[in-house]
Subunit: 335 residues, 2 copies
């Protein structure tokens, strides 16, 4: 089978011919129809991820059809259209992942390949309303966004601020919040992205590169109940200002680095919660799928590349101009 | 009646003769037997508190006997030994205080006086096992510590780190955690305070001025489940290191200033919650009293001064060498 392999960091992935993997006990073999990229894939190619090994097939997100099952797995799975929960061995505590927790695509072989073997427990029926592109775009961004939204205690009457709209997690977080009935404000450095978010139903959109954007938000909407942020950095202090009494600020990332100064007086006086969230548990994944099915949520797809063009896809991600997920088509949609 | 009044910031409180206050509808008149100091009282004398007015009787904590009741209040209250919840008009949301929320002793007249009028809803039966000194030492530190402990989700199997042991809130937080069955580690810059905390049942005690104290804690006990901190400042980064996966860090103050750099990577990877907490709601106050009664908790009293010596009491607080609450005796204990 064809597969995109990390042979050296700071170099393009190499398209190789690999043996079809053996299906071990408790596993299923999936013929993949689509995969999707996450920022994690880019960080790995840049050598910026813990535990990087070479010779590994990249890719965390994938969807396809079960072709074979290992010992102990119900053969009913064969022929089913499935998506994969890429987070393996979360562990027993819902509050945090175990030390054994890992994500498909490093250190174990991932989804940028024609086929993959994964534990049957990581496989879920593809929501019927999703096409292969949508299905592949959902897993890792979906579970990350869902856990962030749930840790942010978003409810039907919440006003939520989501930073950096256009990223896969931010967009799905917006869709989940809206499905729960919340009003969502978004920020970006791109007017185009703000425009698209407004078309999707955002209640307000702000250019965070404008000096007075915080004042604008406060003037238009007042303080917010919850904030979902993947950036941190020097902009974090604005979030403390925007969070209303009892507010929750959830960070699922810190692409702009550490928060350089956190005014704890604001934190205790406003009784805030600053909450970290990364990826999600199997329970988060299942609840995310429930919401996706109920609210017929479709992840936004930015662009689609062939497996052979995986390095162009990674370049698209590196630009940070995408709006939605960058998808890899594998084995042809109608095959 | 005699009362200690703020006539000018950066000056000693003035002992004055005041008219006995009138008992309005819904209020009770309490003849006070003891009051206690909070850091807030010191900040106010230094002009470092929002909304300072002169001519106000200082003091938030007090305990005494009900002498009269206003219209609409059950006359059964007369003669009862009571303590006062100094937090008024919390509002309807348990998560945060309303804009009307205020604390006895500024801007309304407080407990450094022979008598006080307060709303009947702020008055609670004095726990029978507490003497007047203990009773006066409990209210504001108690409700603050209780809310902090409860927001830190402390349970019977928790390992909790409490910074700055010796302060009124820190000590009561330790007592509450131990009453819940948790193991408590403490820090201080004073060996004497650490020794006393160990005698009270702390499972470990660390001098935070020693460079390797974080390593020592990790070596002795591993990472902790919850941290209760009133300091913040440059030491905050240590807390992020000490908090284990799923850990909660609650700040009820920030005497050392803003947290200068918060490594959000640690926050999201360890799925931490950084939680602000200040004072507490009426529900917090009632639950705190329940725990105090059940576990027969006695607040630690550092020293006792007469009302006339209130400025010596404030000086004792300013030194920060106290271990426990600084109490003011009023009207004689046996009167």
């Amino acid at each position: 089978m064809k597969a995109a392999v990390l042979q050296q960091t700071h170099h393009p992935l190499v398209i190789e011919q690999r043996e079809l993997p053996d299906v071990s006990e408790g596993q299923v073999l999936i013929r993949l129809h689509a995969a999707a990229l996450n920022r994690r894939d880019y960080w790995i190619t840049q050598g910026l991820y813990p535990g990087i090994r070479t010779g590994v097939i990249q890719g965390s997100d994938g969807a396809g059809v079960v072709e074979a099952v290992g010992e102990g797995v119900d053969s009913d799975w064969i022929g089913r259209q499935v998506i994969i929960n890429p987070g393996l061995e979360w562990g027993e505590n819902e509050q945090f992942q175990s030390e054994q927790f890992h994500i498909l695509g490093m250190p174990s072989d991932g989804t940028f390949a024609e086929s993959i073997c994964v534990p049957a427990s990581a496989v879920f029926e593809k929501p019927a309303h999703l096409n292969w592109h949508h299905a592949a775009a959902l897993p890792l961004a979906g579970v990350t966004a869902f856990r962030a939204v749930s840790r942010a205690e978003v409810k039907g009457d919440s006003l939520v601020l989501i930073n950096g709209i256009g990223g896969g997690v931010a967009l799905l977080a917006m869709q989940f919040c809206m499905a729960l009935g919340a009003r969502v404000l978004v920020t970006s450095s791109s007017e185009t992205k703000l425009q698209r978010a407004l078309e999707m139903g955002a209640a307000g959109a702000y250019l965070y590169c404008q000096d007075d954007w915080v004042k604008q938000v406060l003037g238009d909407h007042g303080m917010v109940d919850a904030i979902i942020d993947g950036a941190g950095g020097t902009g974090y202090r604005n979030l403390l200002q925007l969070a209303g009494p009892g507010g929750r600020i959830v960070n699922y990332g810190a692409t702009a680095g550490p928060a350089d100064r956190v005014d704890l007086f604001k934190v205790f006086w406003k009784q805030l919660k600053l909450i970290g969230s990364t990826m999600g548990s199997p329970a988060d994944f299942e609840q995310m799928l429930l919401l996706v099915r109920e609210a017929k949520i479709e992840p936004i797809v930015d662009s689609v590349f062939s497996l052979e063009d995986v390095n162009l896809a990674l370049a698209r991600l590196a630009e940070s101009t995408q709006f939605g997920k960058v998808v890899i088509e594998i084995n042809g949609i109608n095959s």
